[in-house]
C-alpha cells in the first residue's frame, strides 16, 4: 500500500452518541440516538426543538474553561492517549493545534450582556474568560504546545477545514504533530439562531429522507492526532489512517443557501481526489454532511449522485450526533476513520423514504464495506464546501 499524506495515530470524541470513540461507535452500530429536549439550555418558545447533548457530564477540570474548551480537552485527552503522547513525549516535538469552532469564538456571554445592558456594571472577568478560551489557544496553552496554533471559524465546515490546514502544516514541515479537529458546545445563541432560520426540526432529524423537517443541533468534540510519517515511524506508533486529500472551495452564491448545482462541493471533491492521486471509483464510502435540512440534503445528495452514481454507500452520522457545527468535521472524521478500520458503516438513523429531490439512498442498516479510501463532506453557511479524503490502514 502506498503511504500518502500524513498519518492519523490517535482519535478522540465526545458527543451525544458517547464520550469516547468506542462508546460512540457502539451507539452508531446499534442505532441508538440520544435526541431530546435541551437540558442545559432553556428557551421560551411555543414549540420544543430537540437536541443532541453530549452523553455524560464532563468533569470540570478547570473552572475558567468554557464547556467548549472542556469538550475539546476531553476528546484531546483520549486521542493523545491512543497516540502515546504524554506530557514528556509532547515536549519532544513541535506540536501544532488546529481546531474548528463556532460558539467557541464568539463574544456572546448572555448573562454578562444582560447585566451590562441593565446598567449593572458586571465584572469583566467574563470577557477575560472569553479571551482565555479560544479553542486552539486553550489546548495549546494547556498542553504547552509550541507549534502553530489556529482556530478556524468557517461555520459548519470549521472542523474539516482545521484538519485540512493541519495537513498542510505537516506537509510544509511547520511542525511534527498536530492536534486537529473541532469542538462546540450547545448554546442558546445557535439554538435560537437556527430556529429563526427555520431549519431546525421539531422531531429527530432524518437526513436525506423525503419528509425531513430540518436539523437538530448537537454538541461535542472530535479530535485526530496527525503526524508526519517520519515522526510516527520514529515514535513507533501505529498508524490508523492517512489524510490523503483535502480541498475547499466557495460557492460565491448566498449567505445561507448552498449553490443549487453544488459547484463548490463538486470542485472540492474533485480537487481532493486530485491531491490524493486517486480516482473517484476508489472512494469506498462517503460520510455526508447530511444535516437533514431541505437545502443541504438536496444539493449534497444530487452532487454525490451525479459524481459517484447512487450506489456508493453514504451515511450521515449527524443522525446520531445532531449538527455539532464547528465540531462536526472533527467528529465525522473520527467516525469515518473508524468505519475504514471496521470496514463497516452504521445505518443513517431516521431515514425511511427516498427523496427524488436528493437522488440519494443513504445506509438503512449496518453494512459491511470494502473500502480503502473514504470521503467526508462539509458544507457551511457563507458557501464553503470542503472535502477530506482518508485512507484506512488496517492492521
Amino acid at each position: 500500500m502506498i503511504q500518502k499524506g500524513v498519518n492519523v495515530t490517535g482519535m478522540g470524541c465526545i458527543c451525544a452518541a458517547g464520550d469516547s470513540v468506542k462508546s460512540a461507535m457502539n451507539s452508531l452500530y446499534s442505532s441508538v440516538r440520544n435526541c431530546a429536549a435541551p437540558k442545559r439550555i432553556q428557551a421560551k418558545l411555543e414549540v420544543e426543538y430537540p437536541v443532541f447533548e453530549a452523553a455524560s457530564e464532563i468533569p470540570v477540570t478547570d473552572p475558567s474553561a468554557t464547556r467548549t474548551s472542556l469538550l475539546a480537552l476531553h476528546a484531546v485527552s483520549e486521542a493523545l492517549e491512543q497516540s502515546g503522547l504524554d506530557e514528556r513525549e509532547l515536549k519532544k516535538w513541535r506540536v501544532g493545534v488546529c481546531l474548528g469552532t463556532t460558539v467557541g469564538c464568539t463574544l456572546n456571554n448572555e448573562p454578562f450582556y444582560r447585566d451590562y445592558k441593565a446598567g449593572k456594571n458586571p465584572n469583566v472577568s467574563a470577557i477575560d474568560r472569553y479571551l482565555g478560551n479560544n479553542a486552539a489557544l486553550y489546548i495549546a496553552d494547556k498542553l504547552k504546545c509550541k507549534g502553530p496554533t489556529a482556530t478556524i471559524a468557517n461555520a459548519c465546515s470549521s472542523g474539516t477545514d482545521a484538519i485540512g490546514l493541519a495537513k498542510s502544516w505537516l506537509e510544509n514541515n511547520l511542525c511534527d504533530i498536530v492536534i486537529a479537529g473541532g469542538a462546540d458546545e450547545l448554546s442558546r445563541i445557535t439554538y435560537l439562531g437556527f430556529i429563526s432560520l427555520l431549519i431546525s426540526s421539531t422531531e429527530a432529524c432524518r437526513p436525506f429522507d423525503k419528509n425531513r423537517k430540518g436539523l437538530n443541533l448537537g454538541e461535542g468534540a472530535g479530535i485526530v492526532i496527525m503526524e508526519k510519517s517520519d515522526v510516527s515511524k520514529a515514535r513507533g506508533v501505529k498508524t490508523l489512517s492517512n489524510v490523503v486529500g483535502y480541498a475547499t472551495f466557495a460557492d460565491a452564491y448566498h449567505p445561507t443557501a448552498p449553490h443549487p448545482e453544488g459547484i463548490g462541493l463538486t470542485r472540492a471533491i474533485n480537487q481532493a481526489l486530485l491531491q490524493a492521486g486517486i480516482s473517484l471509483e476508489q472512494i469506498g464510502f462517503i460520510n455526508a454532511h447530511g444535516t437533514s435540512t431541505q437545502n443541504n440534503d438536496e444539493v449534497e445528495g444530487r452532487t454525490i449522485a451525479k459524481l459517484f452514481s447512487d450506489i456508493i454507500p453514504t451515511v450521515s452520522t449527524k443522525s446520531y450526533t445532531g449538527h455539532t457545527l464547528g465540531a462536526a468535521g472533527g467528529i465525522e472524521a473520527v467516525f469515518l476513520i473508524q468505519g475504514l478500520l471496521d470496514q463497516k458503516l452504521p445505518a443513517t438513523s431516521g431515514f425511511e423514504e427516498f427523496d427524488p429531490a436528493c437522488e440519494l439512498n443513504p445506509t438503512t442498516s449496518n453494512i459491511n464495506v470494502s473500502a480503502e479510501f473514504a470521503l467526508s463532506n462539509s458544507l457551511a453557511f457563507g458557501g464553503n464546501n470542503s472535502a477530506l479524503i482518508f485512507q484506512g490502514v488496517p492492521e
Partner: protein
C-alpha cells in the same frame, strides 16, 4: 516561495485607502479618535477610541445591495475593493482567487444586536439575518459572494496568532497552485462592550496611546480592516514588497538572532504585558505606529502595511509624535508581533 504584496486596502482611523495610511505616516493627517462614554461602578468615564473613516464603498457596490450587510462586513468589503483597485488588477479567472480573513472578535456589534433581539423581544425575536451576519466568517463569505470569487475561502480567529496563520494559509494555497491570487484580510470591530471591558482592564488612563512607553498602560481600542492582494513572487512585479519569511512563535533568542540590523516594526499598543517582552528585545531600531490606528487583535496587519509602504517609499517613517526625521531604508524590514510572554511572530519584508 516568497509572497508578493501587490495591493493594500487599509480602512482605519486615518481614512480609507493606502494614501490615507501614507499621509498618516507623514504626519499630515491625524487619526479619528472619538470619545466614548463608558459606564463604570464609579460613574461614567471617557474612553478615546480610534474609529475608522470608511469612505467610498458606494463606488464599488450600490447602496441597495448592501441593505443586509453589517458595518463590519462593509469595512471588510471596502478594504477588499480598495486593495484590488490599488493593485490595478482585474481577475481573469475568479475561480482562482482565494479569500482568507482573520479577526479576533468578529462582527461584535451584530453579535450583540442578536442578543438585543432576544433580550428585548424574547426568544421568538431572534433575527436570522443578525445570526447569519454575526458569525466570524460572514465578512470573508460576503467578499466571495460580492466579487464572485469561487476559490477557497476561510476565516481564522486566534488573537495573536491570526495574522501569521492567515498568511501561512495564503502561502499554502499559492504553493499548491489552487489559486493565482489571495485576498488576505484582517480586521476587528469596536463595540461598547469591548470599551467597557477595556476600561475594566485598566485602559483609557491616558488621553493618548504611547506604544513606545513600555512601562505604562496606555492602550486605547481601535477598529479597522485591511486587505492585502497577494500573489506568488515573480520577477518584474509591481507592488510593495515581498514577504520572505514568516516565523511563528519564536522565543527571545531566536528573535534577537534573526532581526540583526534590520529596522523592526513592533505591534506594541500600550499594553504592559507586551511592553515587558518588547523591552527584552533590546534592539535600537524598534518602532511602533499603532498610535495611528489604535489597539485591536489584528492591528499587527496594519504594522505589516506600514512595513510595505516603507519598503515601497524606501524610507523609514518617524514614529508618530516623535519629531524625528525620515531615514533611508535599505533592503529589508522586520515586523515583530507579540504572541505571549517572550514569544513572537517574525515577518520579514524585502
Amino acid at each position: 516561495m516568497r509572497l508578493a504584496i501587490l495591493g493594500i486596502g487599509p480602512v482605519c482611523a486615518l481614512g480609507s485607502g493606502i494614501q490615507s495610511l501614507r499621509t498618516g505616516l507623514q504626519g499630515k493627517v491625524r487619526p479619528n479618535i472619538e470619545e466614548k462614554i463608558i459606564p463604570t461602578s464609579h460613574g461614567e468615564k471617557m474612553l478615546p477610541v480610534y474609529q475608522p473613516v470608511a469612505e467610498g464603498l458606494d463606488r464599488f457596490i450600490p447602496k441597495r445591495a448592501l441593505r443586509r450587510v453589517d458595518p463590519f462586513t462593509q469595512i471588510a468589503l471596502l478594504s477588499t475593493y480598495l486593495a484590488i483597485e490599488d493593485a490595478g488588477i482585474a481577475f481573469n479567472d475568479k475561480s482562482r482567487v482565494g479569500v482568507v480573513f482573520g479577526s479576533g472578535y468578529g462582527p461584535t456589534r451584530t453579535t450583540f444586536k442578536f442578543l438585543d433581539n432576544i433580550i428585548d423581544d424574547g426568544d421568538i425575536g431572534a433575527s436570522p439575518t443578525h445570526f447569519a451576519n454575526s458569525v466570524h466568517n460572514a465578512p470573508a463569505s460576503q467578499v466571495s459572494i460580492f466579487l464572485g470569487l469561487t476559490g477557497p475561502c476561510s476565516t481564522i480567529t486566534c488573537f495573536e496568532h491570526t495574522l501569521s496563520n492567515v498568511l501561512v494559509t495564503a502561502w499554502d494555497w499559492l504553493n499548491q497552485d489552487v489559486v493565482d491570487y489571495v485576498l488576505v484580510g484582517l480586521g476587528d470591530e469596536y463595540c461598547d462592550v469591548l470599551g467597557f471591558a477595556a476600561v475594566g482592564m485598566n485602559a483609557g488612563r491616558t488621553k493618548d496611546m504611547q506604544p513606545m512607553n513600555f512601562n505604562a498602560c496606555t492602550f486605547l481600542p481601535g477598529e479597522g480592516h485591511i486587505t492585502f492582494l497577494i500573489a506568488k513572487d515573480k520577477s518584474h512585479q509591481e507592488g510593495y514588497a515581498k514577504i520572505s519569511e514568516i516565523r511563528m512563535r519564536r522565543d527571545l533568542e531566536e528573535v534577537k538572532a534573526s532581526i540583526s540590523n534590520d529596522p523592526v516594526i513592533i505591534n506594541a499598543s500600550g499594553n504592559l504585558q507586551q511592553g515587558k517582552s518588547f523591552l527584552k528585545v533590546q534592539q535600537k531600531q524598534l518602532k511602533s505606529y499603532s498610535n495611528l490606528y489604535g489597539g485591536f487583535p489584528t492591528s499587527s496587519a496594519f504594522d505589516l502595511a506600514v512595513g510595505c509602504v516603507s519598503m515601497k517609499d524606501r524610507k523609514i517613517y518617524p514614529v508618530p509624535e516623535s519629531q524625528k526625521k525620515e531615514v533611508k531604508l535599505e533592503n529589508s524590514i522586520i515586523c515583530l508581533e507579540f504572541c505571549r510572554e517572550d514569544e513572537f511572530n517574525i515577518y520579514k519584508l524585502e
